[in-house]
Point group: C2
Chain length 300, copies 2
């Protein structure tokens, strides 16, 4: 019972109304790992530069993340800098330095190729496809992307969509890729385009899951002070996919529980800068918020 996540490992500089943090450990694969590690063994596939601080690899190892397939390449680590204003709903990117990410070709250790739960976090769809083609027995494959790839590598993304079980997108991405304004129609269109389960993330407005047999809408966990939303979507995906990785059956009940755990994990993420809060969550913190969210969302 383990999961493999392909994505980015980054150094993030973030400014929000709560303050500034420079060169924090971040990236989609890292945030995903924080969400997933409570439920399953996480294997990270990413690239960092030779400047990547040892304290970060030590930290990830301490958190139980397997780094066998983390490439350390000569050069600089991928860096992102962004800023949030007002209600913190949208990030303003200040700078992006790809560094070694521009030459990233995932290399997976032989013994990891049989891992059957896979999450393709947001990187170039060609890299996502390349990785997937090396996996010997995919049982559950999740896919994330972003507007840049929807606009610039649409065909590659659409082709990949047919090979995955779950597509995770925010509402703008779902609308853009499907061409539908209505979010429920967008989700159904994306299912017709290939992924049997479509998860649409709406940030503070919660999440929608559309699949053949059921529809599920869950509000976000009520957070009164959002400190830094960077990585919330990846942490959500980690909780969601991590929980499913440990389930034998992918059905309405397991998907709903997975979505709820993902939502709870994302709520911890936004309460601190970077991994500050999400890295220290205990299983009982998780369970407490799960019960609370269930009570808040349950119709009598």
């Amino acid at each position: 019972m383990s999961i493999l996540v392909l994505g980015t490992t980054a150094l993030d500089t973030v400014k929000t109304p709560s303050g500034v943090r420079r060169e924090m450990l971040g990236g989609s694969a890292v945030h995903f790992s924080m969400g997933a590690r409570h439920f399953t063994k996480v294997n990270l596939v990413a690239i960092v530069g030779s400047d990547f601080p040892k304290k970060h690899t030590d930290f990830l190892t301490r958190k139980g993340v397997n780094l066998t397939s983390l490439i350390v390449e000569k050069g600089r680590t991928f860096r992102w800098a962004g800023e949030y204003h007002g209600d913190l709903n949208a990030a303003l990117t200040l700078s992006t330095e790809l560094g070694v990410l521009s030459v990233f070709k995932p290399r997976i250790a032989e013994h990891q190729k049989s891992i059957d739960n896979i999450f393709l976090a947001n990187v170039d769809p060609d890299i996502q496809r390349h990785l997937l083609s090396h996996m010997s027995s995919p049982r559950l494959v999740g896919l994330d992307s972003m507007n840049y790839w929807i606009d610039h590598k649409r065909r590659a993304l659409l082709r990949l969509l047919k090979e995955v079980h779950i597509f995770v997108a925010n509402d703008a991405e779902a609308r853009s890729l499907s061409g539908e304004i209505n979010v429920f129609k967008a989700a159904r269109a994306l299912r017709r385009m290939g992924a049997p389960i479509v998860v649409v993330k709406k940030g503070e407005h919660g999440v929608i899951v559309s699949c053949k047999d059921f529809l599920f809408c869950l509000p976000a966990y009520p957070v009164e002070k959002v400190v830094d939303p960077t990585g919330a979507g990846d942490t959500f995906a980690g909780g969601f996919m991590g929980y499913l990785a440990g389930r034998r059956k992918i059905d309405a009940m397991s998907v709903k529980k997975a979505i709820t755990f993902g939502t709870v994990m994302a709520s911890f993420n936004v309460e601190g800068f970077g991994l500050e809060r999400s890295c220290c969550v205990t299983r009982s913190d998780l369970e407490r918020r799960y019960r609370h969210l269930k009570a808040i969302a349950s119709v009598c």
Copy 2:
């Protein structure tokens, strides 16, 4: 078991991507009545001009709405014209003709003064207060308002807030009146300002209820084709308050059920122009969507 609603009776001209309708029956008190009539006897307090078509009063009477306190004043009926684009989330007001609404002073029939469930739909807070002062035994009072009054009659509105049990606002209004950006904080602040139960409507993103003993978040009913959202908030309030009017206890269970019925009623409203769809809802339509929404929103 009945409810009295103070509000507007209007002739609405609406343009949406689905088409145009001219001078339809509308107004906050009318939409509210469509939501509430399934649960309780509705008594409407409003004003129309001498040009108000008899077919509309006949229609309301047929729908069981008591029009004893509907004033017919010499002059023109209140008219509103608006337009919706894109995802239909915001109305663009094209014109407002107050007509007789500018001289509105509610007059309530003597036998209606003892009605103990009251909804003060969006009109001038001074008029809302005037009406409330004439009610002999308020048991449950709901209040709605709008940004115009928040900006121009803030003090009158804040005073009124202390005299009601439930305040219903959309998210922008809740933020504006409370001065809090975070919607959960805004709801709590509004409770401190007077109303023990605060309902924040977020349109397609559902609704939040904040009160001392519990928090409840419900997604909107999934509607794939929104034809005309005019009056959705009032129809919601009608279903919500109408259901509560028939309950002995106002507790977590009755409030959650009321919110769910309100949400369902609003979903019918947006599926047609004006009252086209909401006026023809049967009790079994209501129950069916209630069960569906419950399934969609329930965490395992």
